[in-house]
Symmetry: none
Subunit: 199 residues, 4 copies
DNA sequence: AAGTAAACGAGACGGTACGTCCTGTCTTCTT
DNA sequence: AAGAAGACAGGACGTACCGTCTCGTTTACTT
């Protein structure tokens, strides 16, 4: 099942790390998780999918969780500047709508869920997940601080609580699956936070 | 490692399901996760820990995730009546302080995290997890509705968003580990929700 | 390649060792070595050939060399009574002709050579090989002692030297391949030993 | 373990084969086998031991068996003139005592046994082994022919059988390990052959 | 003196086999 | 019939080597 065609021979890079091999492995990891059925996410499957020996993966990553998190970090939408619509409410709406839309994609959703599951028994993956998550938190923190500077948010509040409420809701729905990550939910979350931040 | 001492022989129950065997299995599952080191949480380990044949587990549960979630549901603090301190703020503080305290326990924390991880690749466990989580949500929902009835909370708000913010924060911190579930965090969360709910 | 047909389902034997599985493994080992081409003699090949999990082999044998030697011991021509033709010369001729004929078979030859090679880096296989070889030596020793009793051989000679000359020649030709194990060689060897043993 | 000290830098030889590299590889092969413990005899170990790239070995030898047999041929005691003590018995005693003494050395013994094992699955090594062995056979053949010329041995006998008896015994004891290659065995073997060769 | 070319140390690479761990099923014997 | 026990087919794990491939360096031999 699913070995890449032997025709696609990658050029060797001698004793230096082969960047195209690295790419192939990261793409293979994501491709496995984008497949609908119960494709098992195993090292052997990644290696076969990438047309690579297992040792080549182990040479550069300590675990499949680490591979996945690196792939995720590389594939995630750029950490461009936080949206600036002129109002805190508008910024939050824009940020959450976009973020929910991204996480709603079944392939992305499965990837994020497997990444989180891996992090629960793999300390290296957990560390990478924390780093991945921090980038997202920074974007929201920037929006909140801008709102504060515009006088739209109280200075007295602990922003970390607010941030954790927002991303907490996102991951909670993603992992438990009891409620969807709709656009309506995104705006409702934005409204809730605005109310909670009012000076 | 650590088969239970052979001295603790359980009485046989003949052709009827043996309740003490059921208890032993559930306790074994929790005991494995309460051990600090990287004790592997496997069916074989549960069976050995409980002093039970594997088939006996498979006879009654479809997967180790299901065992774990049944154990969790049984061990979790009773779903007694939601606290009633007379004010919404007081009720939320009481509920969150207690809930965070529970989840802060390393053994409980590990159990919850493994349960969540299992649910990501085990549909049966996921269903049980959803049920387990719903009981917690109900308790919070009761508190919020009581506050609403007392006029302390706006009637216009979607309580599910509020509930997901609260438990989302809890699980998010539990799973990612970027911030602790302190008593201070619990009260800050309560305060934030009160502000957001004000009519 | 070459998994055995799934149709040949073996009956389970519960918690007791399954004799038909043992047979299948031994036969698979010999079958692999009877194939002409460079079929690799690996644990995985044996398991696949026998339609067996690798663990089942490791449960009962410490190494592939041990599997092979057990198969060899079981398949080797019975340790029936040594030939008794009435004369030392006749007995030796009969014994060597039969033994050379057996070892001349390409399939047997390859098996013996691989067994000897395995024994060089596997102490367990070496021990089994020694035991296998001892049975052969006993047969020849019996013939020689009978000759001695009949007065056809000197009582002063160390029979172990004689035995090692005979089986040494056999293995040496088998392993080095510089000369064949013909019937003529067998009788020449018998004649040589008779001359050497004369009282 | 055991990369050669970087201080021992070999001079480069430009585009010509570097003789000191060749020596280093052959010595490394023998050194690995002279180590008591279960040092693995692998290409990688030889390369590391010699402080050489693997490709350098593959450039000049087809297999590790070939390396080993070249090393063996080079290190073996010179094929000087066969001993000449004046009598067949004396010559055989001298030759066998010396040969057994050489093979009795644990390091040499292990080397010979590994060489034989390699030859069983490596046609190139087998060919080299046959050549190595032929040199030994020639020495014995010379002694036997001299004895024949002196009238100490019958002209009617097939010397190849005699030679195979002698070296067969040597290799058989070496490979199986059921009996040692003592000085007493060497003289007993000489005596046996003399008796067998008597005109 | 500059340019060419092969040997060499190094090590990444695709791949095979290793020996171990665990899964979920099956069967026997015990209670 | 439930349960303890454990053999079994199978699949993935993480490691060790295999033999091949480049890369950059070193030196002898051109031109």
């Amino acid at each position: 099942m699913g070995r890449a065609p032997a025709s696609k021979r990658r050029p060797h890079s001698g004793p230096n790390r082969n960047e195209s091999v690295r790419q192939a492995i990261l793409e293979a990891a994501l491709r496995l998780l984008s497949r609908p059925g119960g494709t098992p996410f195993t090292m052997e499957a990644i290696a076969a999918q990438a047309g690579v020996g297992k040792q080549t993966i182990y040479r550069w990553w300590p675990s499949k969780g680490a591979v996945l998190l690196e792939a995720l970090a590389e594939a995630a939408p750029g950490d461009g500047p936080a949206p600036d619509t002129g109002s805190l409410r508008g910024d939050l709406h824009a940020l959450f709508i976009e973020t929910f839309r991204y996480a709603r994609d079944p392939s992305v959703g499965r990837t994020l869920r497997v990444a989180m599951a891996e992090a629960q028994h793999d300390a290296r993956a957990a560390e990478l997940l924390r780093r991945f998550i921090e980038r997202r938190r920074s974007a929201l923190r920037a929006v909140l601080e801008r709102g504060r500077n515009r006088g739209e948010a109280s200075r007295a509040l602990d922003l970390d609580i607010v941030i954790d409420e927002a991303f907490g809701l996102l991951w909670y729905r993603l992992l438990v699956g009891h409620a969807p990550l709709t656009r309506i939910a995104a705006t409702a979350l934005g409204d809730a936070l605005v109310r909670q931040l009012e000076p």
